[in-house]
C-alpha cells in the first residue's frame, strides 16, 4: 500500500495537483515514523504503515498561509473528523487541500509492548493478527489487537468523512467497545473516589503542553495559559489547583469541538488518560443535547455554541446524584 500511495502521489504531483504532501516519514527505527511534509524529490522517504499513528490534520494550519495551490494530505478515517472541524473553524481551507483518504486497520502502540516488558525492540513482523517482535533480548509474539493505540480501540469506523480519493482498505478496530465505558465507571464512583482518581492522574502532569500542542482543537494562536495578559498564564503547576485548572479549562475550550481523536492521551509522557475529560463532555453533550460528533461535516454548529429553549437546567448535575 505504501508503494501504491507513493506512486499515486507522484502521479498527482506530475499532474500539477500539488507540489508537496503531508504524510509520515521514516525514523531511525521501523516504528518512530515522523510527520513530514515532502516534496516530489523526498517522496521516497514517505512511509505508511502500522506506526503512522499521529493525526496530521493540525499541521495543515501552519501550511495554509504559505500555500500557493494545493497540498496533498494523507488523512486516516479518524483524522478526517479533525480535518472537517478545522475547516469548519476556517483554520484549514478545504479548497487548498487534496485529501487522500488512506486506509487504516489500526496503529500499533510501541509503548504497550514496552509495558509488557518487551524492550530493546529492533523489528516487528506483521502476519495478520500476529506480531512477532524481535528484541535485543530475543523474540516475542503478541496479538496485534492487544497492542493497538488506545484510540484505535474506540475506532470511529472505517469511513472517511472527507476525501478527494481513497487508497487502501480500512477496518473498524473498535470491536464493538463502548468508548464511554471508563467515563461511566468514573461517574459511578463516589465523588471522593473520583477526586482521588483524578488527583492521582493529574498530579503526574508536568505541564509539558504536549496534549494541548498536539490537539487539533487546541489551535489557538496564543493559548490563554501562555498569554501574560490573561491573568491565568501559567508555566508549571505550582499548586494542585493549577493542574486542575489547566485541564478543566483545556477540556472546556475544546468541548463541542473535540472529535475524540485521542491524541492528547497518546502523547502524554505521563500516560494521563486526558481523553476521559474530553469524553466526559462528549458524553454529557450526547446525553443532554442529543448525539453529536464533531467534524462529521464541515460547517456544523457545535452544541456549546448552540441552545434550545427546552435545554435542561444546570441543576441536572446535582439531580443525577452521586455527588457526595
Amino acid at each position: 500500500m505504501q508503494r501504491e500511495l507513493i506512486d499515486r502521489i507522484r502521479a498527482l504531483m506530475d499532474e500539477g495537483v500539488a507540489t508537496r504532501v503531508l504524510g509520515w516519514k521514516k525514523g531511525e527505527f521501523f516504528y518512530d515514523t515522523e510527520p513530514a511534509i515532502l516534496t516530489a524529490e523526498q517522496l521516497d522517504q514517505l512511509v505508511y504503515d502500522s506506526f503512522c499513528g499521529p493525526n496530521l490534520s493540525k499541521y495543515l494550519i501552519q501550511e495554509m498561509p504559505k500555500l500557493e495551490g494545493k497540498i496533498i494530505a494523507l488523512i486516516k478515517p479518524c483524522d478526517s473528523y479533525s480535518f472537517n472541524q478545522l475547516c469548519t473553524e476556517h483554520r484549514v481551507d478545504r479548497e487548498k487541500v487534496y485529501v487522500i483518504g488512506v486506509g487504516c486497520k489500526g496503529k500499533i502502540d510501541v509503548d504497550k509492548l514496552r509495558a509488557r516488558g518487551i524492550t530493546g525492540i529492533t523489528a516487528i513482523d506483521e502476519d495478520g493478527d500476529t506480531l512477532t517482535v524481535h528484541t535485543l533480548y530475543g523474540d516475542e509474539t503478541v496479538n496485534r489487537h492487544e497492542v493497538l493505540l488506545n484510540k484505535c480501540l474506540t475506532c470511529k469506523g472505517k469511513e472517511h468523512r472527507v476525501f478527494d480519493e481513497q487508497i487502501g482498505e480500512s477496518e473498524d478496530t473498535s470491536a464493538g467497545a463502548d468508548r464511554f465505558d471508563m467515563v461511566k465507571k468514573l461517574e459511578a464512583m463516589t465523588a471522593q473516589e473520583r477526586f482521588e482518581f483524578w488527583r492521582g492522574e493529574l498530579s503526574k502532569c508536568i505541564r509539558c503542553n504536549a496534549c494541548r500542542n498536539v490537539c487539533p482543537a487546541c489551535s489557538c494562536v496564543k493559548c490563554v495559559f501562555d498569554n501574560p495578559n490573561t491573568g491565568v498564564q501559567n508555566k508549571a503547576a505550582a499548586d494542585d489547583f493549577e493542574e486542575n485548572m489547566f485541564h478543566i479549562i483545556r477540556a472546556f475550550h475544546v468541548a463541542g469541538r473535540c472529535t475524540d481523536c485521542g491524541e492528547c492521551s497518546r502523547v502524554c509522557p505521563q500516560g494521563i488518560p486526558l481523553h476521559l475529560l474530553n469524553r466526559k463532555f462528549i458524553a454529557d453533550i450526547d446525553d443532554l443535547y442529543g448525539e453529536y460528533q464533531a467534524g462529521e461535516e464541515i460547517g456544523q454548529r457545535h452544541p456549546v455554541i448552540n441552545y434550545t429553549q427546552e435545554d435542561c437546567e444546570p441543576s441536572v448535575v446535582r439531580e443525577r446524584g452521586n455527588q457526595a
Binding site: R194, D239, V304, V317
Partner: protein
C-alpha cells in the same frame, strides 16, 4: 473536617445586570436579608460568566459560586442565558466528574421582580455551603491566609 465555629464561607454570586442584579437591589430595598458571606459581582449577562472566573474564585478561596441570570426566554440580550445554561451545565458536570461537590456551584434564574427569590436563593445557597464546609478540593494552598 474540624468544626470551626469561626469559619464563614466565602460565596461569590455573579449576577446579570438586567434581572438578577436588579433582583438583588429589590431584595435590598425590600430589606430581605441574606448572609453577608455572599458577595455580588455584576456582569452584563449570565453569558459573560467565563468558567475561568468560577475556577478563579475557587482558587482564591471561594467555597461556593452561584450564577444568577434572567429566566430563560427573558434575557435582555435574548439568548445569553441559553448559552450560559449549557456552559454551566457542562462545567458543573465536569467539576462533579473531578470529584468536586456539585452543590458548590449553582445557577438560579432570578428576575428583576424576584427580590424575595433572590434573598431566599442566597439564604439557601449559603446554608448549603456552610453545611458543606470549606472548599479544600479546588482551592489553591498559596491563597490561604496565614
Amino acid at each position: 473536617m474540624s468544626v470551626n465555629t469561626e469559619w464563614k464561607p466565602k460565596i461569590v454570586a455573579f449576577c446579570c445586570n438586567w434581572c438578577s442584579y436588579a433582583g438583588a437591589d429589590l431584595a435590598g430595598s425590600s430589606r430581605l436579608s441574606y448572609p453577608a458571606d455572599v458577595k455580588i459581582i455584576r456582569i452584563p449577562c449570565s453569558c459573560r460568566l467565563n468558567p475561568l472566573f468560577i475556577l478563579r474564585a475557587f482558587q482564591r478561596g471561594a467555597d461556593g459560586v452561584i450564577l444568577c441570570g434572567c429566566h430563560p426566554g427573558d434575557c435582555h440580550y435574548s439568548t445569553g442565558n441559553y448559552y450560559a445554561r449549557r456552559r454551566m451545565t457542562l462545567l458543573f458536570s465536569m467539576l462533579s466528574y473531578l470529584g468536586i461537590d456539585s452543590r458548590r456551584t449553582r445557577v438560579e434564574w432570578v428576575s428583576a421582580a424576584e427580590g424575595p427569590k433572590f434573598a431566599a436563593t442566597m439564604n439557601d445557597f449559603a446554608k448549603t455551603i456552610t453545611e458543606l464546609g470549606e472548599n479544600v478540593k479546588l482551592g489553591d494552598l498559596r491563597c490561604k491566609e496565614n
